[in-house]
């Protein structure tokens, strides 16, 4: 009887169902790298979106804190474009260098003044949520801006001297999968300018990210 029971047990354990579960690797989460066993050398390594190099193009606005002449919520709005590069460091960390150009035209009568901001930035982001086609990241962004204005009246115009300015602050963003090769992205940054009485500055931008790998 004892021998029969052992035989039955061995037979049962030898069934594919009984054996497969403890030995087979768990399916990796969809957004994480699939660790494919070496027994499947032909499978392509799939990277999470936070791990993929990408190039992004965004339109956006920068809001510069101003108590005297804000457009909304005491912010002067400056509109423009930003290009960025996403450089993964680890599974959830990535760097986001960027360059951008923003401008704010104002006029009164025949006098006009256009404020220009040329910015270069570097953000460090952590992918806090990777779920389905959504990614939410959080981090810190810093920018070195070059500011100047162009003033015009009738056929006369002149550039003001330029000004370099450093700003730093927290940033966050959402990415939404649009297809295999591209995402929609929205980024929000807040910061202060230490050399300008800690003037606040926020920026919001949205656009597309194209994966390079």
């Amino acid at each position: 009887m004892k021998s029969f029971s052992l035989l039955i047990t061995l037979l049962f354990l030898n069934t594919p169902i009984a054996l497969a579960r403890p030995l087979a690797p768990l399916m990796p989460p969809r957004e994480r790298a699939s660790v494919i066993s070496s027994s499947m050398p032909t499978a392509k390594k799939q990277l999470a979106r936070s791990e993929r190099q990408a190039f992004g193009l965004e339109t956006g606005l920068v809001g510069i804190g101003n108590n005297s002449s804000g457009d909304i919520a005491k912010l002067q709005l400056v509109f423009g474009l930003r290009a960025n590069y996403i450089f993964p460091i680890s599974q959830r960390f990535f760097l986001k260098p960027s360059i951008g150009f923003f401008l704010r035209p104002e006029s009164e009568g025949d006098v006009s003044i256009t404020q220009n901001i040329v910015e270069s930035g570097l953000g460090a982001q952590y992918a806090l949520v990777l779920r389905g086609s959504l990614m939410w990241h959080l981090g810190i962004s810093q920018h070195l801006d070059y500011l100047f204005s162009r003033i015009s009246v009738y056929d006369s115009s002149a550039m003001t001297p330029g000004l370099f300015r450093y700003r730093v602050g927290p940033s966050t963003g959402l990415r939404l999968r649009l297809g295999d090769g591209w995402d929609f992205t929205s980024d929000l940054e807040a910061g202060v300018i230490p050399t300008d009485s800690m003037r606040t500055q926020v920026s919001f931008s949205s656009g597309l990210i194209f994966f390079l790998d």
């Binding site: 009164e108 009568g109 204005s149 009246v153 009738y154």
Partner: protein, 340 residues
Amino acid sequence: MTVIQPSGAYCKYQVGPATIQTLDSVSEMRGLMGQVVSHQDDLESSSSILESGMGFQRLDLRFAGSGNTFGPLDKTSLIAASLYYSLEKGYFLFKNLDPAGDLNSIVPNLRDTFIVQNAKIKAIPEEGKMLSDNAAYLQMDGPQGPRNYFLSFPNEEIKTIPLGFNAGVMVHEFAHYFTQYAFHMKRSEAGKNLTDESENTLNAFDEGNSDYFAFLATRDPGFFHCSFPNAGDRDLSHPKVLTNQQLQAIRTSVDFDSHDGGAVWASVQYQIGEAIGHEQNGQSLISFLNRLATCTGLSSSSARVTFNTLKNCHIQALGNRATPQVQQIYQSAFGALGAN
């Protein structure tokens, strides 16, 4: 400092660097001329605002540059710099014409002057509409003595050179400031209690005289029309004569506009300047303003003031520069009406 400035020709303006010499703080636009400020309320909503200078706030200004070279980054800062620049231009005009024209040696609290950007005052106290497209000099008596203001009202309808950028208009207001201290504050109580006719004559003269100093600062006799191309003729280079209609308005105060009679005075000064030299005439007018309260008798008593009274005081101040040509210019403009 990069500002909007007149370039001498008729309504020709340009952007360029200008030296602002009297600023203590660029970021606060504060210096000898006072400080460019704003106020969120109607300036007449409470007597404490203008009498005590309550509630005025420094503007949040942004400039790029360093050392001695700055440029405004936004419109508010550009207007603020242009306002200060224009008033300083007026200050140096008077001072350089005659040391007795140095307002810094006349006004003890010159630095406390508030240059109010986008000033809010109801056009008619009972109505909600606010004054716009205008500028003013204002003196208020307060607990600490007289307080001086330049008011630059919001631009709404001017499509050419807004008043905040029109150096002529701001120098015109600066000339009122000088006239206030050189003449009006020297009038006795009796000298301030005049008939409407005399007071209207003085107001008209004050406007015209300020227009002439605005011309001296900008060298543009049509400076006013750079902002108001279609307004009545205030081009100083157009000779004008005092009309019966203007005189009637001065006498009765009906349809009286001090700028009408003022335009005649201004055109007379322009012609005199063309005849004897504008610098000489400017010097004579500063001397005239400093002596006007005495010359008219208003420093001690009440007196009737006509255009002839003013003419005679100016001729006195001109001394040997009062050539027959000058007399003729006055005669052509005022004729017999000037004595009425």
